[in-house]
C-alpha cells in the first residue's frame, strides 16, 4: 500500500511537470532546464544529478561528476550481455539489453543496485531502446540491427512491449504491439514517439497502455531515433535530422530538416 501511495504522488508530480511543459509558449523554452542535456533512446551515457552512468556491452560504470571537469570513476559492475541503452526515471535506471531489460535503483551514494531483470527469452538477441514513466516502461525490440551474416533467423521479432512497472521489482508485460522494425522511442506525457525505420515515425497515444492508439504516422521518411522536448520533436533518420512542432498535437508539423550526406 505504501508503494502505491508513493507512485501516486510521483504520478501527480509527473503530470504537473508535463502540464507546466505543455503550457510553454516558445518552442525552445519548453525543454526542461537542467544542468544535463537530454539524450536519444540509444544513449549509453546518462547523467543523473552528480553522477554519470556509462554502460558498455556487459557492464555499468559510475562516475562522480560533482566537479564536472573532473569525472572520477567510483564503481563498475557486471550486468549481463549485449547491453544497448540506458534510461533514467525517478532514481531508477532502465537498461535495455539483447538478453533482457534490467532495472537498477540508484542508492544514496550514487551506486546503482539491481532490483529486477526481465529476460526476453528470444533465441537471438534483439536490440532494444527503452523509455518509461512512473507506471509503464516501453521497450522496442527488433531483430534486424543485430548483424549476423551466417545465422539462420527462424523468426523476426519486431514489437513494442509495454510493461507495468508500478512494482519496480516485478515488472509485468501487459501488452505487445507488432511493428515493422522499431528502433528509437521517446515519451512525453501520453504520447509515445516511435521510430519504425523505413515505416517512418509513429505517434501513439498511450493514455491506456493496454490499448495504445496510433494518432499520427509519417511514413514518407526513415526514422531511427527521437528526442521529444515538450512541443519540439527532434527525429533522425539516414537522410535528415527532422524537427516537428507538436505544441498542438492535432496539427503536428514538420518545421525544418538538416540533410545528411551519404
Amino acid at each position: 500500500m505504501k508503494f502505491n501511495i508513493l507512485y501516486f504522488v510521483k504520478l501527480l508530480l509527473l503530470i504537473s511537470v508535463v502540464q507546466l511543459v505543455g503550457c510553454a509558449q516558445n518552442l525552445n523554452d519548453s525543454a526542461p532546464a537542467t544542468a544535463a542535456g537530454i539524450a536519444g533512446s540509444y544513449a549509453r551515457f546518462i547523467i543523473v544529478d552528480n553522477f554519470l552512468y556509462i554502460v558498455d556491452n556487459t557492464s555499468i560504470q559510475t562516475f562522480d561528476i560533482s566537479d564536472a571537469e573532473d569525472p572520477t570513476r567510483v564503481e563498475q559492475s557486471e550486468i549481463g550481455s549485449k547491453i544497448e541503452s540506458i534510461f533514467h526515471l525517478d532514481g531508477n535506471l532502465f537498461i535495455g539489453a539483447g538478453s533482457g531489460l534490467f532495472l537498477y535503483s540508484i542508492k544514496e551514494n550514487g551506486i546503482p543496485e539491481k532490483v529486477a531483470d526481465v529476460p526476453h527469452n528470444f533465441p537471438i538477441p534483439p536490440c532494444d531502446p527503452v523509455v518509461a514513466n512512473a507506471t509503464n516502461a516501453y521497450v522496442t525490440l527488433n531483430t534486424s540491427t543485430w548483424r549476423c551474416t551466417w545465422c539462420w533467423n527462424p523468426e523476426e521479432f519486431n514489437v513494442l512491449k509495454v510493461f507495468d512497472i508500478n512494482n519496480i521489482e516485478d515488472p509485468q508485460l501487459i501488452a505487445e504491439y507488432p511493428m515493422e522494425n522499431p528502433k528509437g522511442v521517446g515519451l512525453d506525457g501520453d504520447y509515445l514517439f516511435l521510430c519504425d525505420d523505413t515505416a517512418g515515425l509513429k505517434v501513439l497515444d498511450v493514455s491506456n497502455p493496454e490499448e495504445v492508439v496510433e494518432i499520427h504516422h509519417f511514413n514518407n521518411f526513415t526514422a531511427y531515433d527521437v528526442i521529444p522536448l515538450g512541443g519540439l520533436l527532434i527525429v533522425v533518420g539516414p537522410e535528415n535530422v527532422y524537427q516537428f512542432d507538436y505544441t498542438d498535437m492535432d496539427n503536428m508539423t514538420l518545421i525544418s530538416t538538416i540533410p545528411i550526406q551519404v
Binding site: 518552442l27 525552445n28 525543454a31 544542468a35 544535463a36 542535456g37 537530454i38 539524450a39 536519444g40 540509444y42 544513449a43 549509453r44 551515457f45 546518462i46 547523467i47 554519470l52 556509462i54 558498455d56 556491452n57 560504470q61 562516475f63 561528476i65 564536472a68 571537469e69 573532473d70 569525472p71 572520477t72 570513476r73 549485449k82 543485430w146 548483424r147 549476423c148 551474416t149 551466417w150 545465422c151 531511427y224 531515433d225 528526442i227 522536448l229 519540439l232 527532434i234 533522425v236 533518420g237 539516414p238 535530422v241 524537427q243 512542432d245 518545421i255 525544418s256 538538416i258 540533410p259 545528411i260 550526406q261 551519404v262
Partner: protein, 173 residues
Amino acid sequence: MKNLLWLLPFLLCACLTPESSNDFEETGMRPIYLQGEAWDAISIQEAQPIKNLGKIYYKDNHIYVNEVNKGIHVIDNNDPYNPVPLKFIKIWGSKDIAIQGNILYADNLTDLVAVDISDLNNIVVTKRVTELYGLEQSSYPENYQGYFECVDPTKGTVIGWEEAELFSPECFR
C-alpha cells in the same frame, strides 16, 4: 557416441580438401585504421556535413549529433525553423555524448574525456579517464557475428569497423 562414428570419414575428408578450393568472397567487417595522427588528439573544426549518423543529444538549444567514430556535430537550434551548423568536435572513436553544464563527456576510443565547450572556438580537455572500455574493439567488431578481416597492428590504430566484401577472411567469431 558410437552412432556418430560414421561421420568420421566425412570430417577427415573436409580437412583434406586442397586450400585453393576454400577461396571465397564474403560480406563481413573490415577494421578502419587511423594512421599518421594521434588517436587521442581532440580538436575543433569548422562545421561539416553529417555523413555517418550516430546518436543525438540536446542541450540548451543546441543539437549534438555524433558522427560515428569521428566526432560530434554542434548545431545551433535557437530557431528550430532554421537550425545552423556551428562546429565539429573531432574525437576519434566517439559514439556517445552527455553534457553537464559546460562539460561534454565523450568516448575517445578506449578513454572517457571531459571537454569544456563553453567557448567552442577554444575547447579544453579537462580530464581523461583511461580504460573506459576494454581493447576488444581493436581486435574484433563488437555486436557482430560472422567473418571479419583480421587486425594488422602495423597498419595503425583500429578506430572502428565497416562492412566490406572480404576475400577469404581468416577471422570470424
